[in-house]
Symmetry: D2
């Protein structure tokens, strides 16, 4: 391909092993040609990829583009978006990276042309999904609308690539985009949370790293709520000042006891249930802000009267916008928190179906399950 | 009272006629002492006061402080918050105004001490309602937590007072705070709406003036939706580029036909029903913003999945913050729009109960009903 | 060229007449191939182009890229950036425009990859000028770093193209980018200037349209200062509430007399002299903001102690960023102001050198001189 | 005084020792009545007070109000603004604090009424200095316009008071307002500096703590420049990634070597010299931002052409606005950095003149000199 640079030090094979979607919930391993980067793109040799709940949804429902009116099911698509690796080839005009650089990726490369991209809101690109065929606007979302990371090589627009410091393991580097999503949520809430009270509801990966990011930004107190003590314990290790098990208590009262009777300034809602969202609303003080980083599958009965009467703002966030991944990486490179606390299991790429099962069924209390293309062994539970 | 300045040119009587709350839905006219302004306050002789839907709620349910846990019903409280008049006395230290100045008022004077007031968010004051007795933090909300305008004189903190130009009628001046509420909503949406598409849902007073304010700020197109053609017609007169009667059509489709298949950038939701809020969500494009300026009485089933998946932000706004009333006045003083198009009826202060009935029952298609303390006659329907 | 769409209704010739730079201050008319648009670009048939002071600088000094370390002088470069015209061909993937659309252009298409572009600050692209040869990052600045508008056809990235309404003349459409620059300045000052006091210093094209834009946004009062009464008179026609001839008076005192002894909230400084900048600083109130839209050729002695002691912010702005051109167009399309008041002369493209002389020497009180590729006649002075 | 609460546990004497200004550069110790707090104020028993360069200026030139046209010299005024202590009495309506609370103070309590205070910009209060006599608007600036901390007791508006955690020493607590000033500067630059490159120029107290605050916020790299290696060494201890001694090198080149040829994203300029400001401008990249936290005594020759051509913004900041002191305290309470590294000497209150000499003449390499009202001994040089 014109203008692509490769290096003898890192030969690129012609074909690779890749997992692709078959029928719903079916993943098949195939041999595919290694793709080549175009202008402003690079080829990444994938060294590790973490499994996100969204991957499970895509394998079950198809990609977002499909869900909203595309063809019945997108066969031969490779999912997976939380990957890291080594730069193996440079597309035309790329001098920001060198072959051999260790890199991790974020998901979204906006079209660069629409109103949102021109505003810097590339994760809300108005040409979302338009990257195939007649209507290629250049938008890419790794593992959502363009082939992702459950394979050996993937093409990435340079806007989605971040260098990984030597002091960071492959496994930890796969978690940067998760921390970046948490950072994006806190960014949209205003970002200046030092000394402000923050509740994080729901100790999944985004919630747990939201605790870590909020503490890194100086929030105080940071309160984590959830139903499983094992997860809350990890929250404490990531910096939470307090944890509340919602099974044992009235969580709104408990938060107000810790943070004052008016409630807290910010909530990062990562549980996604109707109850959790209403609790979030009722524990937030007048003029406070709530980030909706999760959501229920169906419309939910929400106490909007309370929202409006108390001048609250709700931010539905999707993905890792506003260069938040770079800010998350800055704290992680500086060892402000240890994101690898949420990494529980590692599998070989060939064992992806089993890795997915661990993630889906939370086998052995799995949080983040990482798949490694080479030299990986099943990792014992770490926490 | 110490330091109060009065003028012979405008003698202040010792007592005045005032409407006060009795039992729920009961208003009684009494004779009360004229209150005197303290430091940083002025006394306003009320010349005109408009009726807001919230006044009707307060007469029925009591003030917000009461609703949220105060005594059973606040007898002897004077409601009414959309008033204007003439400065009749100056409290200590006031040189921003002179006796005889025509002024209109906004509602909220924050405590100036809490976290929100220090941020400039005085309408979300954390000492809301704390202006009586042992816990006086200095917060005031005219007609909500401190005596309001259905009387002859009222004390106002100078933060709530705006001068009225000679070219503006008393009646129009009562509408500045309504326009200020619309402006506040558009401010919180970012304020830079020139050339952006805006839908306003619900052609009540705030909705109709939101059309006018959005057009003044350069929004294009501005689309007004509602159920009554008479109201939509006023929306056109206030600058709407298009109106849609939601009874006749699928409003989401109709908006997309006018503004493009992706939907609009902003919605100012002023209808407050579950259906209207979900329609607002579905007509907004990815990364768009919705101002909730109205709300249902009860929790509502909301399509939050759509909100989060499309990175939308919802702003529940209450009142007229961020000095928005001053910005609204700037456009009104400049005759950018004629707010008096929504003024339909005028009554004398003595006829307040009848005026309230017109407002409550929308008698004769009433929109804004104004009560004048002096020389008013019942006004025929204007529109 | 692959994927380019043309139409029989608007045949594109193979060559065109173009003015190109020779030696410094030398312009030569040559015959050049008509360029063809690539992906996300269009070809514009130029119908009118206005002359900007920067064009004169480029013809004299070379392009910005050159000034900062490029080759000695850029021969064969076509300057001119304030142009409008008709879409004549569509590059690959373009469906935002159709052949035959009337359009006007802004200057900057960022690379879309650097830190600033990702923030939405494409006019401050960190790959500025890198659009030729080995280091093509995709940045384009019409008439600055890529061929401009003193010719018959020009290629534009679609990010720089705005549709022109039928009700707007070709000449007025060339002024949109100037109004967009004024709008950008006011945007960076915060944008919410309704009811705020604004001084514009220097009644050149950007200053005069800054008056118009500030009034459209509701600023009040808007005060224009300058040395020539003829220009100040145009400022009044564009909406200035007051004008001050700085030759006759102490301008700082005069501003404070009009706007209050503390001074004004905002200054848009368009004069660029040391005296004017210091006057701007001294007429601004505590916490106020100054946009530096012009600048002296050399470092200037500035009263920074006053700036810091009064917590003032200075915004050096360059070009028309943050989609400001779209907001300016919204007000112009709505006939909020008549930008054509600053258009004074029209010449044929063949007479460009004479047109440049009019602009450079302000012959016949020229403000904006427009050159038309076809059917233009010398326009008599309009004002 | 009406409504003041005192406690037997902490009796308040009738008089106190206080240092007051005599003639320029003359400080006299007198016995004064202990002042009593009004509404929303508290009385602080001063336990420690740090010396700021501005104190030296006030003792030499008088207070800011004087410099700008007040009476010849303000005798009997008590300077000193970086103090902490123990709450000794509560004014009317205060329940935010209790007698016995350890607290530190920031400087500015805005009037709460002017345009800037309503925007949350209380440090730019338009009624600055209007707190005496006929024009009392309620503005207070401890040690600038109202009596300060070189004494035993001082009245403070509650807006200026922050609780001190038990784990923080008195001496460190006096440094919170300095860190708050650094935080304010970084706040005005946007606040989201994680992973961004920041240069701090000038290793005085504000500069050194700007290094610490920038690192806490995740900035990377943070580069400190200055002329004295001893200070730069402290900068390294406070987290600087690199230091540059400007005596040895071309600082602009050195910064670009460390941070990339385009220069850095942000500069916090704390040196205040013409050379340093121009260096700051030349080391900042296109679209970058510079905080001017220091300033020369006289107007300076500044490369504004470079500022404007590169779309840079300059923020002249004064004091510790936007609740930045609370954010600084959050990081200090969390032991993110050890501000006491800049505390070098301690004196008894009776020895204030000698303490001032140490600060003025930088005796023994003094940085922050702290004065303690009780049980203090001269502290040996700590660093």
């Amino acid at each position: 391909m014109s203008g692509v640079k490769v290096s003898d030090s890192m030969p690129v094979p012609e074909t690779m092993k890749a997992w692709v979607i078959g029928d719903p919930d079916e993943l098949i391993q195939v041999e595919k040609p290694v793709p080549m980067p175009s202008r402003a793109e690079i080829l990444v040799r994938i060294d590790a990829v973490a499994i996100c709940a969204t991957d499970l949804e895509i394998i079950h429902y198809g990609t977002p583009a499909l869900i909203e009116g595309g063809p019945p099911f997108n066969k031969n698509f490779t999912p997976g978006h939380e990957y890291m690796g080594t730069v193996a080839a440079l597309g035309e005009g790329v001098d920001e990276f060198e072959i051999g650089d260790r890199v991790t990726v974020e998901i979204h490369a906006g079209c660069g042309q629409c109103k949102r991209c021109r505003q810097g809101m590339y994760t809300s690109c108005h040409n979302y999904g338009l990257n195939y065929g007649d209507v290629n606007k250049g938008h890419r979302a790794n593992g959502f609308t363009t082939d992702g990371g459950f394979t050996e090589y993937a093409v990435n627009h340079i806007n989605t690539v971040i260098k990984v410091p030597d002091t960071m393991s492959d496994e930890e580097a796969t978690l940067v985009v998760t921390a970046g999503t948490s950072m994006y949520g806190l960014t949209e809430l205003g970002g200046l949370v030092a000394g402000e009270s923050v509740v994080v509801t729901g100790p999944g990966p985004i919630g747990l790293l939201a605790v870590a990011v909020a503490k890194s930004l100086g929030a105080s107190p940071v309160i984590l709520t959830g139903t499983r003590d094992s997860r809350l314990k990890i929250g404490l290790a990531l910096g939470a000042d307090h944890v509340i098990n919602v099974k044992d208590t009235n969580v709104v009262d408990a938060v107000k006891e810790l943070a004052g009777e008016l409630g807290v300034d910010y909530v990062v809602e990562c549980a996604g249930s109707e109850v959790a969202i209403n609790d979030a609303i009722h524990m937030t003080n007048r003029g406070g802000k709530i980030c909706l980083a999760a959501f229920p599958h169906d419309p939910a009965k929400i106490d909007l009267p309370h929202v409006v009467k108390n001048n609250m703002y709700l931010y539905g966030i999707r993905g890792e916008g506003r260069s938040a991944t770079h800010r998350a990486m800055a704290f992680m490179a500086d060892k402000q928190f240890d994101a690898s606390l949420i990494h529980t299991h590692t599998f070989a790429l060939d064992d992806l179906p089993e890795a997915l099962r661990y993630a889906r069924e939370r086998v052995d209390d799995a949080i983040k399950v990482v798949v490694k293309a080479r030299d990986a062994q099943q990792k014992l539970k770490a926490v």
